[in-house]
């Protein structure tokens, strides 16, 4: 499994602000190596976020998302103690799921 994400979920009024840092190379497929060969694209394609097991957001990413991606969104009605789960799948089929508790 790939390296862990850092997920912070904090209550702000009647929502929770979720901030995620993912560890991923996000190789654009535009760069060439020292020998002049194009380094193949390697990036997160699908992202899913769940609140207490219910999917609240899905996303599709291209190679233009920055390396070690940062993502921030707000979950309505989330309370302290609720679970936020974030998963990603990349274009090589590698995946990662991590969860955090809303504080």
């Amino acid at each position: 499994m790939a390296d862990p994400m850092r997920i912070r979920a904090q209550v702000a009024g009647d929502k929770a602000t979720v901030r995620v840092l993912m560890a991923h190379e996000m190789e654009s497929g535009q760069r060439k190596d020292a020998a002049g060969k194009t380094i193949p694209a390697w990036h997160i394609q699908d992202v899913t976020a769940q609140h207490n097991g219910k999917t609240v957001m899905t996303a599709q990413w291209g190679p233009a998302v920055s390396k070690n991606p940062f993502l921030q969104f707000n979950v309505k009605g989330a309370k302290a103690g609720d679970k936020i789960t974030v998963s990603w799948v990349d274009n090589k089929g590698d995946k990662r799921t991590d969860e955090a508790t809303v504080s």
């Binding site: 390296d3 862990p4 850092r6 901030r19 840092l21 560890a23 390396k67 070690n68 940062f70």
Partner: protein, 267 residues
């Protein structure tokens, strides 16, 4: 004032403001960009790795780093970063964080320090050191630099560092001081901190290690110094060599009182 007079006055004011406003806007723009990146620093990923590595049994001796003395006694990590480089009795040398980690990794875990020193940045055990550096520096975040200068070796290293700082060499006859010897200098849009004194909280020595956005890696002070040497067209210094520790001692002593923001985020 009539409308026309008002307009003329307004235009005159805007015209005179124009030139300086442009410069302020660029610097302000950069400052705003940096601020936007502070929350969600990918260095946190390295910090998490480092904390795990500190506790993990590894190496030929299958031991963790938890007995490593970074200056405040075995296993103590909080507050050590802002007192490095310093003298260590067991090695008889002044050491910075990276060289001390090499000592502990070899003494406690059985790793070959010379091999790690030859490993390129970002690979193998070097990548692990970056994680350790990120976490250990994070454990001193917000504290002020306060390098000890009581041991004669510590004083000697600070003086050697000063000489190395001002030593001009290489095809361009640069020294560290060429860029960092005076306040108010910059290269293109990059402000250059004056490292002969305390340039302020979270600036210069107090801003490293840092996640370097342009390479997507965490840069330790050793890597930062290595790149400075490259930019001056000097030969690369040895990893954790005396000259790098001396420079760190000189800059760290100058930065006394500056608040550490490491690990920071940089362009």
């Amino acid at each position: 004032m009539t409308n026309i007079q008002g307009v003329v006055l307004a235009v005159a004011v805007v015209a005179t403001m124009g030139a300086s406003a442009q410069q302020r806007t660029a610097a302000d723009g950069i400052a705003e960009y940096r601020k936007m990146l502070e929350d969600g620093n990918p260095a946190e990923l390295s910090e998490a790795k480092g904390e795990a590595l500190w506790k993990q049994k590894r190496g030929p001796k299958n031991a963790s780093m938890e007995a490593c003395d970074l200056g405040k006694g075995p296993g103590k990590v909080k507050g050590v970063f802002v007192e490095l480089p310093r003298h260590f009795a067991d090695t008889g040398k002044v050491q910075d964080l990276e060289s001390r980690l090499l000592s502990c990794m070899s003494m406690l875990q059985g790793f070959d320090a010379a091999e790690i020193a030859k490993t390129p940045f970002g690979r193998g055990e070097q990548a692990n050191i970056e994680g350790l550096v990120a976490w250990i520096s994070a454990e001193s975040r917000g504290l002020k630099f306060n390098l000890p200068q009581s041991h004669p070796e510590e004083k000697k290293m600070a003086e050697l560092g000063k000489r190395a700082f001002f030593y001009r060499a290489g095809p361009y006859d640069f020294s560290c001081a060429s860029c960092h010897g005076e306040a108010g200098k910059r290269i293109r849009l990059q402000d250059l901190p004056d490292l002969t004194q305390n340039p302020g909280d979270g600036i210069g020595f107090a801003a490293w290690p840092a996640y370097r956005v342009s390479s997507g890696d965490l840069w330790s002070m050793q890597r930062r110094l290595n790149d400075c040497y490259r930019q001056q067209r000097f030969p690369f210094p040895g990893y954790a060599s005396d000259v790098t520790v001396a420079l760190g001692t000189y800059m760290g002593v100058n930065a006394k009182g500056a608040v550490s923001i490491a690990p920071a985020i940089k362009r």
